[in-house]
Symmetry: C3
Subunit: 397 residues, 3 copies
């Protein structure tokens, strides 16, 4: 697109009324129009920034970030998104191990939110916990707003939970859309979301789950490949199946990486932990069974080590469509011979795709900003028109 | 009040000239007019925010926060207040145990203040230290400003010291004023500031001290109740007595919780450590006597455990005026059967007052912002008029 | 100077085209005109702030700070500088000991920079590492910008490396310029950069190196004095010699502190570690040889203790020009009888120079802001004119 008006026109054709004053938890809780609105607003925000048009819509207000796991990329993406709109980030540092519930969540959520317009949470460590916790926070501040405690209702943005990683997957998808020249070109394309070996273990399932839950909506042929024992949450597979049926695409699972890569247009090879093991770990943590956890970790590492052949090698890449499938990763990747001896991907493959990978990541701040904007403003199309007319430069010149 | 002009008119009747370019340490160092100015500006700022009028008065400038104790509520209140006015918060992380004095304080205070408009400090751990430290910082930057080192004089806001917790108590009082429909309705009302059992020990005395030092100024009948041995600082009791005499109210102390609750209009049951024990602890810390500290802690916990009957139960509440006294707490409360086995308050009592309690807390950011504004601007009434005329929206629409 | 136009006129006479869209690593990589541009813009920014003219040139954008060593002064200076221009600071907390290179640096640098206009790095711990690391980061984001990953190229500001401490030395120099009434008055002045005893060991060499690398450019007689064994990097001494030759001044080294102080106009007595020992330490760290490091530390402390007579005493000060040389220090100083038993400087000397020392430090935020501004704007003179015309007050009145 060439002008801001093009984005505005596109937005005006979409129905995303329900996003106003609402949260973003899982992509499959959103309609196709709503997802398209996110991508459109993300592109429009990028267009404005690139054309030195300030998109600062808040004169004051806080963006609260709560990371229950270390994070650099998502943290900076959230900070960038808030800053782009005029919100100042305040980190709530809870201590990593503490999983507070009930009264405490309700109270803390309100206490930090008197001037908060958005709350971004990453809580992906324990199966059955992260998404539930986000809902607790959201319910608390929603109620606080209804009860007159909070003047505004802070929007919740899921920065990664145990089920989905929507800001990542939405950025991945926006990257795909740009690479393939539009959503309309994705029908029939084959996408392989495959497990890959990494010397570490216990990586979250939210990326593979988020990918099969989102990418099946575009009419693509989505294949999930992993060794036996590395199943993802069955509920999410159900989602993927329904999505595929509705979009005219397909979803299937295989234990054969080569089969998945064969003629693929897009590959997303990445390590994750087995769902059942993560459930077990959550249970052991709940019981404070350190010995059990150590034993489980040992078993998982041993199980892991049996699948070193699951790697995105040059040979594997040569199986893909014209040997040139679009390689995706949420980063950081475990690169064989570089960041580890044997990892998820060959150094030469990674190197060839570095720029697209970085580009992929660059969409995340805009996707987050779009999610915030769509929640805080009833008519984002009109808002963008006004921002263009206001014509305040991002950098004064 | 219905319009901003009402707040402006009220401000114009008050004398608060001395607040300009000055600090806020203890409420009893301020005149009645000055306290009323804080509440009026706080309400006006809230009114403006609720009516989408930006109160950003600083285009740049830092708000330095220095917390010598963990804090979530006060930290976010200070951050919210700074952000509301346009100041960016920078935390000075000194390390919790370090108590630096003399040359170091003077130097550090100046080094961080080149572009600081306000410094907020919480230092409540050791008797005789916190308030003194704040004065050292304030004196340092005041001198730095006189000497031409600092272009501006950073305002100091006491975010809790060993003597007072003025931002908390001023927020508590603003809540009371709103609940009772005005300062003029407080005369003769009975307020019970009472000790309550908590399984933890060593909670600061600044809240009970701040409450009896402030609430005695409104002509209320203030009762401080605690078990023998839980005395507060005698100097603050002297302040309370003088305030009561001057305001036509009363101040007295009792060791009987029931007597304090009897017919009370307002109750504030909360755990604190005995002043004498805190003094002893400060001495032991100074001597680095870890064994002595552990011994003292043990003794205090044993002493504590003898007073589990000091709790804000339903039965206690039924003693109050119509059984419906306004229940206050600075939060977080130790709730029996919820956050601990036996604590300060019954879950059912707390639950009934949750919304008012959250509302009480919601005044703190505005109170802090008002303190800053009254110190940085010579004519806040005129400023507010100009802000209304400027009419920049907080959220661009 | 009396008006902003004076600074603008001065700028218009200087050639600093190469600073646009460029980094600031070492002062000796910059021309005399470029250094003068930094001081001129720094003074102009201070003038504007003092006259309540907002210099906020960014409506949004991040300033990333990466401190691989504890820091209060430089951290707050960087935060102040960013805030003055409208950038929000985000700290990248890497963990102090981690020295990441190669792929990781490239990736991380890009991932945090999608909306970063400046990156400030302090990495002064290991010889041969800090400056090299900064170049890696700079090269990464420069390439990222060329490859279309990053819309803008983030400017790198060296907040202290193993070779130079340019923001400190540029602030020191600006202080000298103001004290002596102009660059033109520095010719022939004697400056003594001398080692001084401190009970700690291992202080970075970047200050003495930065000082001899910069101060030799003004036609001054620069003397570096230290006990045998405390040599600095020979490459930097070469720079100092060349500078002195070019500027009509002189550079020499002595092992006699008194000789250095004799008739000095400016003295800068300060502890540092021997270069050779720092090189050895870097090697031992690389090998993970903890025992070797402990042994080295012991040796260095013993070596250190032999030179307690290297102190800036009253007696030493009396040797200087009229007994009134300008005393400089980057702070904090080790003050004898105050912060330690025997240290770098007598308490009475330090006390007499406290105000000038604090003033010296106060230039740093402006120097950093000037470096950012000169990199981000092609025509800073025109920009300042426009800022004056825009006439937005820093504090709304």
């Amino acid at each position: 697109m060439k002008t801001l008006q093009d984005y505005i026109d596109k937005l005006n054709k979409l129905n995303f009324k329900e996003m106003y004053n609402n949260d973003f938890f899982l992509t499959w809780e959103k309609t196709d129009d709503e997802l398209e609105a996110v991508w459109t607003v993300a592109d429009a925000l990028r267009f404005m920034r690139e054309n030195n048009i300030s998109t600062k819509v808040f004169e004051s207000g806080l963006g609260i970030s709560l990371f229950r796991d270390n994070s650099t990329r998502t943290r900076f993406s959230f900070a960038s998104a808030c800053n782009l709109l005029g919100l100042e980030v305040q980190d709530l540092d809870e201590g990593k191990s503490q999983i507070a519930h009930g009264e405490t969540v309700r109270e803390t959520a309100n206490m930090i939110s008197f001037m908060a317009d958005v709350i971004g949470i990453r809580d992906d460590m324990y199966i059955g916990k992260g998404n539930a916790y986000m809902h607790e926070v959201s319910d608390s501040v929603k109620q606080g707003n209804i009860d007159g405690i909070l003047e505004q209702r802070p929007t919740l943005v899921n920065l990664q939970c145990d089920i989905d990683h929507p800001t990542q997957c939405m950025a991945d998808m926006l990257h795909i859309i740009h690479e393939f020249g539009g959503v309309e070109n994705l029908k029939g394309k084959k996408l392989a979301m495959t497990w890959a070996y990494s010397p570490s273990y216990g990586k979250p399932l939210s990326v593979p789950q988020g990918v099969i839950g989102l990418m099946t909506r575009m009419g693509m042929e989505v294949v999930l490949a992993h060794p036996e024992g590395y199943e993802v949450m069955p509920e999410v597979e159900e989602v993927a199946k329904k999505n595929a049926a509705a979009s005219g695409g397909s979803y299937r699972r295989t234990n054969d990486m080569k089969e998945a890569f064969q003629d693929a247009d897009i590959v997303y090879p990445k390590s994750w932990a087995p769902f059942a093991a993560m459930e077990e770990r959550t249970k052991l943590y709940g019981e404070g069974d350190t010995e059990g956890i150590n034993k489980l970790e040992k078993e998982l590492l041993a199980q892991n080590a049996e699948h070193k052949d699951w790697a995105c090698t040059e040979e594997m890449m040569s199986l893909t469509k014209d040997g040139k499938a679009l390689y995706l990763h949420c980063l950081p990747a475990d690169i064989s011979g570089l960041s580890c001896e044997t990892g998820e991907v060959d150094a030469s493959v990674f190197d060839r795709y570095r720029n697209p990978l970085y580009k992929e990541a660059s969409y995340k701040p805009y996707v987050i900003a779009a999610m915030i904007l769509l929640s805080k403003f009833e008519d984002p199309a009109a808002l963008m028109k006004k921002l263009e007319e206001r014509n305040v430069p991002r950098v004064f010149k």
